[in-house]
Amino acid sequence: MNKFHPSLRECAIAATAFKLLLFPAYKSTDFEVHRNWLAITHSLPVKEWYYEKTSEWTLDYPPFFAAFEWILSQVAQFFDPAMLDVKNLGYDSVQTVYFQRLSVMFTELLLVYALQKFINTSPESSKRSAHAVALSILLSPGFLIIDHIHFQYNGFLYGILILSMILARSPSTRLYSGFLFAALLCFKHIYLYLAPAYFVFLLRVYCLGDSVFQIRFANVVKLGVGIVGIFAAAFGPFVYWGQIPQLLSRLFPFSRGLCHAYWAPNIWAIYSFIDRVLIIVAPRLGLTINQEALTSVTRGLVGDTTFALLPEITPRTTFLLTLFFQILPLIKLWANPTYETFLGAIILCGYASFLFGWHVHEKAILLVIIPFSLLALKDRRYLGAFRPLAVAGHVSLFPLLFTAPEFLIKTVYTIAWLIVFLTAFDALVPPVAANIRRFLLDRFTILFIVVAIPLIAYTSLFHKVLFGERYEFLPLMFTSSYSAVGVVGSWVGFCWLYFTT
């Protein structure tokens, strides 16, 4: 019997019960997106998967995910064949909802498995904290909001990511870690953001010996053949049919704007916020304003953002910045290729792409939160950096659910999660010597967390009372700017830890 209570299994059962009750809840267009993909993969030959465009929600995930949808569709036909019709746009019969929602919960079992594995493989001394971390990931409000209400399949994808991160721990399984990660990339290409850390780590510890010049050819061949094989399995047919340019244009749509319709809490949110403030201040300073900009930003359209005063940002700038902030931690990983540095490098790669990337979705914050959770209980300083991220990252997901019935679910669930797990982490985390603790930063964190309460109250209640339907971008702007401060703060804190220890 498990030593710690409640066990992962018990939490999974209780969470499943709660998620089942959420079946009638709001679902976003992503629900229709995935239904459409079920229809495409089920009713069309593979050759046409990436050309089909009856619905505006075309297939824009890599081939493994398409294959995954195809497998699901084999089961779906027993629930309701009508959902598998490409022309049946916006179809959401009860059976369709039940099937799609159930498929999310069923595939999430992979995450449960990965977390159990994570507990089992962690050293005896830290099993207790590993257990708490595993529960926090399983019950994460991120998955609840994004997967089970908004609708996506992040649960099992993060299950694969965590499995691959666990396999990287022991030298004997590193090969499979690489394979799993390659497969993950063929499911969803957003994980490319984390790929540099994997690349450097596997190259350094698996392909090279103790010295950089000692190349282990057998390992290189094994890893190379395996990864090429996986990519060939995914993309081979499309290479053969000459569809790669079409496929790539679907996977990487560069025509989108710098900020998503709702700003993800990153550097560009702060940048835009400053720009907005400058619009008000500019006349007093005698600066000229770009008139075009006044109608831009979070009008609900995915398009180009124009700035009134600050210089424009090009995709090239964001790319270079991302690359720069990814390379810094990679240099340290190259020099000091331990497992913990590797985890840190993954986290920092996630941070860099989230903070500086082009057209980042708020959902991508999971790329940082989930890997960071695995390291958060290393010692008190790590937890200190994790806390604002946990608060800001989850609060920034709130605008995803804007309907009245879901308001209570998202806020109460998130607050409950934060209270339970931040307290539990606080009790479990090993202490550090008193002189390293940063008194001021801790106070700042507490202040930051406290500010969240009036912020949520304002954005969800008082704004409408004060302004009605006017200035509807204000609450969104406040949420993302606030969250951006938290994410950037935790990034700075974690960078400092990463480079000094």
Binding site: M1, N2, K3, H5, P6, S7, E10, I13, A14, A17, F18, L20, L21, L22, F23, P24, A25, A404, P405, L408, I409, V412, Y413, I415, A416, I419, V420, T423, A424, A427, L461, K464, V465, F467, G468, E469
Partner: protein, 553 residues
């Protein structure tokens, strides 16, 4: 100040520490609910128990509320009358639009108001509040308009006549919010206080008290009726519980006041009245006769009722009280309406009561049977007016009413069920947990025909299985062989009924359309009989035990 319970209460100092219940002996044999609270057992994290439990109960209640309500969403196209949801909404419409003197008279065919005045005031208050709140949800433009126009413009949802049968997501959200808020203001604090005080008096450890609180708050039947089907039972139950809270802390006058509030919220609280009367009377005559106390109690009750009815009489005229009482006690109705798992309905398979006897005869018969059924708990409470017998006494009396009285609804099973579950706050041993969770499971099953009509199949399945699992139903059975037999037998029967209803005998159903409902009634009736006897037996045993030493396992 003399305690009203001489002899019943001994100083706690002399008690040896009670043996720890099964839930504390982790990790050997925990039921999952206890396991969830295990990390919070240390003194430093004790403060988390209450907020976390509250948040979890809010989440589950609200999640249930996302589903359909009484014949609203699912059967929207067909039924002309809708269900309790429409009734509650309609009362808000009536009370906010009409002068008081028309409340109990307005178009009685369409969900005429037939609850006591406190429900009417409650509806009025919610209707008025919605003038503000709801407009906020729909968009504040209307709210500002309302302010500027200087008066309280009733939103369309409660516009007289036109709003009938309205079905709107935002209206639903508002109504769900009122049910949740009403429960959070009455039932939940009452339960929290009850577990704290009663648990302390029964010498439960802090951890066990947390587990008992969780078990009571997560009770599925009340949750699915109030937040799924839609009613405000928790307000009535909450007032009764508050009354019990005051009784067990020796404030009998406040207790009587709150019980009167409960009665004047929903007449269903009458199920508890005899036993509370017996208890209070017992306190007045036990050991030595205390006439002043009796007079004061009587005065409290009269004044409380006076306070509740005063607005109605003052604003609407005296004849309103008569009409209200006439509406509240519908003696003109039949022995039962829907199939319900009580004696009359269950025995109807053998004896067609309604055909063989006239209505007056049946009324008398049910009155006699009910009186006989509630006499034992009343006598026990009268001769042993002890605090710790209250939950069992209430439960036994309510079971008696449920089994034999007139005009019982399937939802009425909440009345015996809630105090039965409260027993957990007194003892959390394996036997009690097993019996109480069994009764909750069976009660859920007995409401299945109703919940299926509402379209709450998903919520029914999830909540029943979740609670059964949380309470360890699948792992623990009672110690006695008879208990084991009853539990296993009833679970098999329940599963068989559900299974065959879902997959088998479609042809048979054409011939006997009520087959599954009748099967449900018979199974539930059998179980409820056992439950009633268990509660009575337990009450008897507890009252004996109290003679010698304080109760413990």
């Amino acid at each position: 100040m003399p305690s009203p319970q001489q002899g019943a209460y001994k100083p706690r100092m002399k008690k040896p520490k009670a043996t720890r219940s099964v839930s504390f002996s982790l990790p050997a044999l925990p039921f999952p609910l206890a396991s969830f609270l295990h990390p919070l057992r240390s003194a430093s994290s004790q403060w988390l128990v209450l907020p976390v439990l509250l948040m979890v109960s809010i989440l589950f209640r609200w999640a249930v509320g996302l589903g359909p309500y009484s014949e609203g969403n699912i059967g929207m196209a067909a039924p002309p009358m809708h269900g309790d949801f429409e009734a509650q909404r309609h009362w808000m419409e009536v009370t906010t639009n009409l002068p008081v003197k028309e409340w109990y008279w307005h178009d009685l065919e369409w969900w005429g108001l037939d609850y006591p005045p406190l429900t009417a005031y409650h509806s009025w208050l919610l209707g008025i509040m919605c003038g503000f709140t709801l407009d906020y949800v729909t968009g504040v433009i209307r709210l500002t308009k309302m302010w500027f126009s200087g008066g309280m413009i009733n939103p369309d949802w409660f516009a007289l006549i036109e709003s009938r049968g309205l079905d709107d997501v935002k209206l639903k959200t508002f109504m769900r919010a009122t049910a949740l808020a009403s429960e959070l203001l009455t039932y939940v604090p009452a339960v929290v206080i009850f577990v704290r005080v009663f648990g302390r008096q029964a010498d439960l450890s802090k951890y066990d008290k947390g587990v008992a609180l969780a078990a009571i708050l997560m009770q599925p039947a009340l949750m699915i009726i109030d937040h799924g089907h839609f009613q405000y039972n928790s307000v009535m139950l909450g007032f009764t519980l508050l009354a019990v809270d005051f009784f067990i802390t020796d404030h009998i006058y406040w207790g009587s006041f709150f019980f009167v509030l409960s009665l004047s919220f929903k007449q269903m609280a009458l199920y508890y009245a005899p036993v509370i009367f017996a208890y209070l009377l017992g306190l007045c005559v036990h050991t030595n006769i205390n006439i002043p106390r009796l007079v004061l109690l009587g005065a409290t009750v009269v004044i409380s009722f006076g306070l509740v009815f005063a607005p109605l009489a003052v604003l609407g005229g005296k004849e309103q009280i008569a009409q209200c009482l006439f509406r509240v006690f519908p003696f003109a109705r039949g022995l039962w309406e829907d199939k319900v798992a009580n004696f009359w309905c269950a025995a109807n398979v053998l004896v067609k009561f309604r055909e063989r006897f006239d209505s007056g005869m049946l009324q008398k018969a049910s009155l006699v049977a009910t009186l006989a059924a509630i006499l034992p708990p009343c006598l026990i409470l009268f001769f042993n007016p002890q605090k710790r017998l209250l939950p069992l006494g209430l439960a036994a009396c309510a079971w008696g009413f449920f089994m034999f009285s007139f005009q019982v609804h399937e939802k009425s099973v909440l009345l015996p069920l809630v105090p039965t579950t409260l027993v957990l706050a007194g003892s959390l041993d394996k036997n009690t947990v097993s019996w109480v969770s069994w009764m909750n499971n069976v009660a859920m099953f007995s409401m299945w025909p109703l919940l299926r009509r509402d379209g709450l199949q998903l919520q029914y399945t999830v909540l029943t299985l979740l609670y059964a699992w949380l309470m360890g139903t699948f792992e623990h059975l009672p110690e006695h062989w008879f208990g084991k037999l009853v539990h296993v037998g009833s679970y098999i029967a329940i599963l068989a009924t559900h299974f065959s209803e879902a997959f088998l005998f479609e042809g048979l159903l054409q011939k006997y359309p009520d087959l599954w409902v009748v099967a449900n009634v018979e199974i539930s009736f059998g179980c409820f009989t056992v439950a009633w006897i268990w509660v009575l037996w337990r009450l008897w045993k507890e009252s004996r035990k109290g003679k010698k030493k304080p109760k413990r396992e």
